[in-house]
Each structure stands twice: as C-alpha cells, then as structure tokens.
Symmetry: C2
Subunit: 127 residues, 2 copies
DNA sequence: TATAATAATAGTAACAATTACTATTATTGA
DNA sequence: TCAATAATAGTAATTGTTACTATTATTATA
C-alpha cells in the first residue's frame, strides 16, 4: 500500500517542473512556487523533489554542476549545456541504446544504462 | 611566463593520482598523501587539485555524484560506475566524436564536446 | 651563497547546497 | 467527527569545498 498523503505543496512543485523547459535548481523551483504559496519552505521543496524523483515522476539530472538540476520530463533523453550562459536544453531523441553494448565490450561486467551531456553554444549566445 | 613554484605537496598529490585507478575524491587523496606528508592540509589538496585540473594535467570528473572525483589520466575517455559498490572504472577507448555531429542535428547551436557515464555492475559485484 | 620577492603552505574560518529535526498542521480512512 | 499519521514551516546541523592569514619554502638574481 501507498502511505503517501496528498499535498498542495507537492502538486505546486510538480506543476512548476512540468511547465518549464529550463531544468531548474531547487532554489529556482522554490522562488517560483512561492508565487502561489508564499510561505512554503525550502526544505519542503527539497523533500518533495527527492520524493518525486524516487518515484520516477521527475528526474534529478547529475550534470556535474555544483548545484543539482531537475527535469519534469522523466523520459530518458540527453541534454546540452551552453558553456557561455549555462542554459540546459533537451536533445529531442531517445538515448542511443547501442552505446551500452558498445561499452560493455570494453568493460568487465554488465552495463544497463548511461547518461550523456553535451557542451556547446546555444543559438542565443551565438548572436 | 609561468609564475608557478614547485612544491613537494603538489608532487605528492599528482603522484597519488597517477598511481591509482580508483578515480578518487579529494578526501581519499588527502588520506593517501598524509602517509608521506602527515601534516599536509586538506586545503592544500583541494587547491592543488584545482590547479592541476586548470592546467589539464588531471581531470575533475563531473559524474553527478555529491562528491567530486578526480582522474590522473587527462586523455578523454568514458567511465562506468558500478551502482552496487560505487567503483568507477575506465572505458579504454577514445570518446565517440561522431556523437557531437549526431547531437548537433538535434540542437539549435554548436556542440563541441560531450561526456558520458555508464552505469552497470562490475565483475566483483556480479559474483 | 646570501638575499629579496613572492608562491605555496598549514591551520582555521566561512560558505553554499542540502539534509535532519521538531513542534504544528493537514489529509485520510473509519 | 475523530483518531492516526504524513506533510509542513521554520530552523539547526551537516557536508563538501573555498577563502583567509600569518608563516614557510622556492626561486631568480646579486
């Protein structure tokens, strides 16, 4: 059974994540959610982001940045980070699953997934 | 001109990194280096790891873990992390540069590099 | 080889992101 | 409506890392 209880705060956090493409940090989510729930606490944001990603409703992107970024889209896909402005964009394609087989040939053990991050310059910064 | 001065501490830190395959954290390096330089400070370890990676002598692996890992081998290559024991291993191959062109087709902007991390189970943990 | 300039150090304090704690509030099923 | 308890707000604590400062070590040159 699911011992979870519904909460307005969690709904609002998920709503914020689902309706943006910026792959925000916890702090960004916090400041957005405060527009509708002004006294929500930052701890609540962190706790729910953790809960939602444990349940695979959202994903915590381990991009190697000092601050964690989240994605409201749980479908596996790659990302590009602009090295100039830091913006994170989606690569609209499924991950290349053949890479796992490729890597497995070079590794003693089994491989079942991978993640990748591309670095470049977004069109905004190219202008 | 190079305004850098030689230091025994930096030598020892680099030596530790060059002679292991474990992709250690700063703290691991610290405890190793203390075996030869017992009163070295953790700040010195961090400062030199930063300096060495700025100079591309080592690399800071942005693996998405909460603690940073370092690699004494600056040649670009992928890694596998065992989800059971956390061990990080090398994939002994050059990165697939064709991936950049592939991703660029799906992105508005230019892409010039990428990094990837594979997840699996190492042979030790399979037993 | 002595010296003067300064990079690097040890030790410690500060910092930022995140997590844990606790008393109170909200949700839920009976 | 009520009792059980999940979730909250607010705050304190923790963790990994960086910054600061007085002292020490390295180096180029006299």
């Amino acid at each position: 059974m699911n011992t979870s209880k519904h909460s307005r705060q969690r709904d609002a956090i998920l709503e914020v994540l689902k309706s943006t493409k910026v792959h925000p940090t916890a702090d960004w989510v916090y400041s957005e959610v405060r527009k509708t729930i002004p006294n929500i606490s930052l701890g609540t944001v962190y706790r729910n982001l953790a809960k939602l990603s444990d349940e695979n409703i959202i994903v915590k992107l381990g991009l190697g940045t000092s601050v964690e970024h989240f994605d409201g889209n749980p479908e596996p896909h790659y990302h590009v980070m602009c090295t100039e402005c830091g913006a994170i964009s989606d690569i609209e394609s499924e991950p290349l699953k053949e890479l796992n087989a490729w890597a497995e040939k070079l590794f003693k053990g089994e491989i079942y997934k991978h993640s990748a991050i591309f670095f470049g310059r977004c069109d905004e910064c190219q202008k």
